[in-house]
C-alpha cells in the first residue's frame, strides 16, 4: 500500500473507529483535548444528527443549522474543558450548546420573522411535521407518553420555550397567561416529565 492508498485509509479508519467505539464521553473529550481528530469524529458520529436536528427544528433553515453544528463542534474542539462528565452526558452538553446558540441566532434581528415565514410556507406545502420529526428514537413512545401526562398548558409552555426559542414572557404573551404562571408551568412540567420518564424506564442523564 502506498501513501494515500484508499485501502490503507479505510484500514486506519476502522482501527480508529474501534479505538473509540466503546469509549466513554469523558475518554472521548480527553482525547479531543489531546488533539485527536478521530475522537472529535467519534463525538460527531454519535451526536451530530441530534445536534443538527435540534438546530434545524429551532431555526427551520438548513444553512443556519449547519453553521450552528459547525460552531458547536468547533467549540468542543477548542475548549473541551467546558464539558464536565460529572454533570451530564456529552449529548446533553452539546444539545444545550446547540439550543443556546440557536436561540441567539433566532433572537437576532429578523431571524424569527424569517423562520415564521418559512414555517408558514412549509406547513402550507404539507411536508413539514414538527410533531413527528422529534420522535425518531427507541424511547420515543415513552417520551410521547410522558408528555401526554402533562397538562396541555404545561406542554405548550415547554414546547414554545424550547422549540420556539421564546422567553417565558413571550410564551405568556402568546398564550395569554400571566408570566409567573408560565414560568411555574415550565418548571413543574419539566419536573413531572422527568418523573414520568424515570418511571417508564427511560434513562435520563448519566454519562454514556
Amino acid at each position: 500500500m502506498t501513501a494515500g492508498d484508499p485501502s490503507r485509509d479505510r484500514l486506519r479508519t476502522e482501527v480508529v473507529r474501534e479505538e473509540f467505539a466503546d469509549a466513554s464521553d469523558a475518554a472521548i473529550v480527553v482525547a479531543i483535548a489531546r488533539y485527536r481528530q478521530e475522537a472529535l469524529a467519534e463525538a460527531y458520529r454519535r451526536h451530530a444528527g441530534a445536534v443538527f436536528g435540534l438546530a434545524r427544528r429551532l431555526l427551520a433553515d438548513q444553512t443556519m443549522a449547519e453553521e450552528v453544528v459547525q460552531e458547536v463542534f468547533l467549540r468542543l474542539w477548542n475548549d473541551p474543558g467546558r464539558f464536565d462528565p460529572e454533570r451530564g452526558t456529552l449529548r446533553s452538553y452539546l444539545l444545550a450548546q446547540t439550543h443556546g446558540r440557536s436561540v441567539d441566532v433566532l433572537r437576532s434581528e429578523g431571524a424569527r420573522r424569517q423562520r415564521e415565514e418559512r414555517e408558514a410556507r412549509q406547513t402550507a406545502e404539507g411536508g413539514y411535521d414538527l410533531e413527528l420529526e422529534v420522535w425518531d428514537m427507541a424511547a420515543a413512545a415513552k417520551v410521547r407518553e410522558a408528555l401526554s401526562e402533562l397538562s396541555l398548558q404545561e406542554r405548550l409552555a415547554i414546547e414554545l420555550a424550547y422549540f420556539g426559542g421564546f422567553t417565558y414572557r413571550e410564551v405568556a404573551e402568546r398564550l395569554g397567561e400571566p408570566e409567573g404562571t408560565v414560568k411555574s408551568r415550565i418548571r413543574s412540567g419539566l419536573r413531572r416529565l422527568r418523573v414520568e420518564l424515570v418511571a417508564a424506564g427511560v434513562t435520563v442523564g448519566g454519562a454514556s
Binding site: Y35, Q37, G49, F83, V103, D136, R191, G205
Partner: protein
C-alpha cells in the same frame, strides 16, 4: 444578583433558564445563584437532560458538514493534529527546540526518549461561564492540595525580569496544577502555551488560553522544568518563542 430577586424567585426561574427562555438579566442572576447553590445546579442539569430527550432527532447530519468542520480545524490550528501531544523525535527536537529549551538551559541530553503521555486536560480556557466558574473552584482546591502534598513535584516559574511568576505542582499520579493568574491577558488571537522539559525533550502540555487562571494538566513521566510561551491562538507543535515564564523543578 438583583437585590430584589429572592431565592424562591430564582428557583422559579430554573426551568425557564434550563430552556434558554429567560432574558439576559435573569440569566446572569440565575448563573450567579447557581455558582453558590449545588441543589439548583443539579435541578438545572436535570431539566437539561429531560430536554435532551425531547430534542432527540434520529436523522443524520448533512453530507459534507464533517469535512467543513475538519477544514475549519486546520484553519484554526495549522499544525496541531494528534502529534502535538506526543514527544517530539530526538533529532528534530534538538534541531527545533528553539528558544524554549535554550532558555530553560542546563537541561542535560536525554539518555532516552521519555514517553510522557501528556494529556492537555484544559485548553483555551475562557472561564466566562458557569461551568468554568464551577470547574475553577474544584481546580483551585486541587491546586492547594497538590502544593501541600510533600510528594508533589513543585515548580516556580518566573519571567526573565522576575516581575511575573506562576506556580505548578505535579502530583505523583501525574496530575498537574498550574496557577498562572499573574500573566497579563492576551488578545483573543493569542494564547499562552505550557511546555514540559525533560532532558533534551520539549513537549507541549497544552494551550492555556489568553487569560489563564488555575489549570490542570497531566503527565506520565518526570519533568525537569516547565515553561510558558506566548503563541498564536490554537497553539503550536514546536515553539520558536522565548518563554514568558520558566521554572526548574525545585
Amino acid at each position: 444578583m438583583s437585590p430584589m430577586r429572592r431565592t424562591d424567585e430564582l428557583d422559579e426561574l430554573l426551568g425557564a433558564f434550563a430552556l434558554d427562555a429567560v432574558d439576559d438579566e435573569e440569566r446572569r442572576d440565575v448563573e450567579r445563584y447557581l455558582a453558590t447553590n449545588a441543589r439548583a445546579r443539579a435541578e438545572v442539569q436535570d431539566h437539561r437532560e429531560v430536554a435532551t430527550l425531547l430534542a432527540f432527532s434520529g436523522g443524520a447530519a448533512p453530507d459534507g458538514l464533517w469535512d467543513r468542520i475538519v477544514g475549519s480545524l486546520d484553519a484554526i490550528a495549522p499544525a496541531p493534529g494528534p502529534e502535538l501531544a506526543k514527544v517530539l523525535p530526538m533529532a528534530p527536537a534538538r534541531r527545533r527546540r528553539g528558544r524554549v529549551a535554550a532558555y530553560a538551559g542546563g537541561a542535560v541530553a536525554a539518555a532516552a526518549v521519555v514517553v510522557l503521555g501528556v494529556v492537555a486536560v484544559q485548553r483555551g480556557n475562557e472561564l466566562d461561564d458557569l461551568r468554568g466558574e464551577i470547574a475553577s473552584t474544584t481546580v483551585q482546591e486541587g491546586f492547594g492540595q497538590a502544593m501541600a502534598d510533600p510528594a508533589s513535584a513543585k515548580f516556580v516559574l518566573q519571567s526573565p525580569d522576575g516581575s511575573v511568576s506562576a506556580q505548578a505542582a505535579v502530583e505523583p499520579n501525574g496530575i498537574g496544577f498550574l496557577a498562572a493568574g499573574d500573566l497579563a491577558a492576551l488578545p483573543d488571537d493569542r494564547t499562552y502555551q505550557l511546555w514540559g522539559i525533560s532532558g533534551d525533550t520539549v513537549i507541549s502540555l497544552g494551550v492555556l488560553g489568553s487569560r489563564p487562571e488555575v489549570l490542570t494538566f497531566t503527565v506520565a513521566g518526570p519533568l525537569d522544568a516547565l515553561a510558558i510561551t506566548e503563541e498564536v491562538a490554537g497553539g503550536v507543535p514546536v515553539s520558536e518563542q522565548s518563554p514568558a515564564l520558566v521554572g526548574q523543578l525545585t
